[in-house]
């Protein structure tokens, strides 16, 4: 099985404090990895680090070539402003295709990708991880006069993503009039437009009602099993996902646990989070 992301003794953090210390883990293709931990335990920082928004302070972060080419789909936490945003579902999903365009234009993506690689560049066996040469970037870049428009390819992909998530008939509906579960589907469709290999979900079930949560889990499981999408989910709902995930990462600045859910149930931390089951 392909390893998509490898972290070896990675520190992530900001100027004056480290949020994640000495993190070692890997994400394989087809994984369903759950990241759990208390508030402020560094989960969101880890997500930012994996997305390449902040660079590792120490250690190596290696991202597989294929994942670097396609990028990582991201489902951020919803903000209050978003919930009453006047936009149609189509507009939101289409905005996901921008990322491919951005990734292809050298000046926009170069900085972010560069930070992602800085850690990786230290390891010796990473010859293949260099940035795409500027020529190839330019060849694929959209011509300037076409910038205001989405291409037919973009539209086709957006339609395919909406079809996959069963929201095609909602495409002209207003985002703010959808239920919480439907909104989440729209955002997943957008993330899949950006990248179909791997999704990072940051506390996706916040604000959903119980049946929408179950719906959502079914959806994610289907994407993981049938479509082969690698999932990394940050969540507080350990009990809800432990039956689906195949890896658990428990963070408390440092890694408290990383491994299979069955083993997690036996650890002290797992028992505390799962409410004393399997005691």
């Amino acid at each position: 099985m392909n390893t998509l992301i490898t972290c070896r003794h990675v520190d992530f953090g900001y100027e004056n404090h480290d949020a994640v210390v000495d993190l070692s883990m890997e994400v394989d293709e087809g994984d369903y990895l759950c990241v759990v931990g208390a508030n402020g335990s560094g989960k969101s920082t880890l997500v930012k680090g994996l997305l390449g928004l902040i660079k590792p302070l120490k250690g190596e972060l290696t991202v597989a070539e294929e994942l670097r080419r396609t990028g990582i789909g991201y489902l951020p936490q919803q903000t209050a402003a978003q919930r009453d945003f006047p936009a149609t579902v189509r507009e939101v999903v289409l905005s996901g295709t921008l990322s491919r365009r951005a990734a292809q234009s050298p000046d926009d993506a170069g900085v972010e990708k560069g930070t992602l690689n800085r850690g990786a560049a230290q390891s010796s066996d990473d010859a293949g991880m260099k940035e795409g040469t500027p020529e190839t970037c330019f060849q694929r870049r959209k011509p300037f006069y076409k910038m205001p428009f989405y291409s037919a390819e973009d539209k086709r992909q957006a339609a395919a993503c909406m079809e996959k998530l069963g929201i095609s008939d909602l495409k002209n509906h207003c985002y703010r009039e959808l239920s919480g579960g439907q909104q989440q589907r729209v955002l997943i469709a957008r993330a899949l437009c950006a990248a179909s290999r791997m999704l990072i979900l940051d506390e996706p079930i916040t604000g959903l009602d119980p049946s929408a949560i179950q719906d959502f889990y079914r959806l994610v499981r289907r994407l993981n099993r049938d479509e082969g999408v690698t999932i990394l989910m940050v969540t507080h709902d350990v009990a809800g996902v432990i039956s689906q995930a195949n890896r658990i990462l428990h963070l408390q600045q440092r890694v408290i646990f990383f491994g299979k859910p069955e083993d997690y149930r036996r650890t002290a931390a797992g028992r505390r989070y799962l409410g004393g089951e399997d005691r």
Partner: protein, 320 residues
Amino acid sequence: MSVIAEMLSYPFLVRAFIGGILVSLCAALLGVTLVLKRYSMIGDGLSHVSFGAISVAVAAGWSPLPVSIPVVVLAAFFLLRITESGRMRSDAAIAMISASALSVGIVVTSLTTGMTTDVSSYMFGSILAMSRGDVWLSAVLSAVVLGMFVLCYHRIFAVTFDESFAKATGVNVSFYHTVTAVLTAVTIVLGMRMMGAMLISSLVIFPALTSMRMFKSFRGVVISSGILAVVCFCIGMTGSYVFSTPAGASVVLVNLAAFLLFWLAEMVLRKRIRWQPLKPGGKRTPFAGGGQAPKNARKWKTIRPEGEHAPRSAGGSKRQ
């Protein structure tokens, strides 16, 4: 018609019309993103800062625009930074800054020149404020704003809708913030002298809020805001000429009227859609026993959100 021809025979009114239309167009377009990102108060804060800067400039005998534009641009950066870092409640910070800037302006003015007509016209706007240079500057400004909206429309949408996602997918978010801040600052300084420091922020807020009543797509809201801003400005100016009312306040009142109109239209439309399923032939009563529906049955059903008219086939939620 004759009124308009008469108005356009005065060169200063022609300038006011051209400059005003361009400035309100810019303000409306920028306003859509500002309102949606919950930065509505920034316009208000910046106009007060601008007032402070201009009064200092007038007191010192400098020309107002070259002083106030850089000061307001700086303030815009600062306000956006505060909002982003979240270290302080941004609404409180904006209120604090705008009140301080206003007081600086007032104290400086009263110590030097006293409340001259110049200063009071900055407060409440003056139709005479648009000089030839201002018109040119607003033409350049609106060219930049329109160009940005046409060329980067999708990115503006992405940044406005979801900053974290845009950032994660490689859009240079802080660049867009910076550009928006600079353009907003220039728009406000330019528009302020005609509309008045107290009123200019309405040009930013109103068109977006009004359009959001009726339009459900981002594109619809943007286009409608631009058109509404121009139309409201023209009506307001004409009204101010005919009834000899202050220009700025008249434009704001027309904007308010447009807002109320759209709001009413939204209410009517929504009611009609909600009541449709209750027309004869539809399922009449949700009550078991099939008897007479209680008097408030209609009301009872109207309250149900989504369920009646929103398709649920894809439903993430089975709330009802």
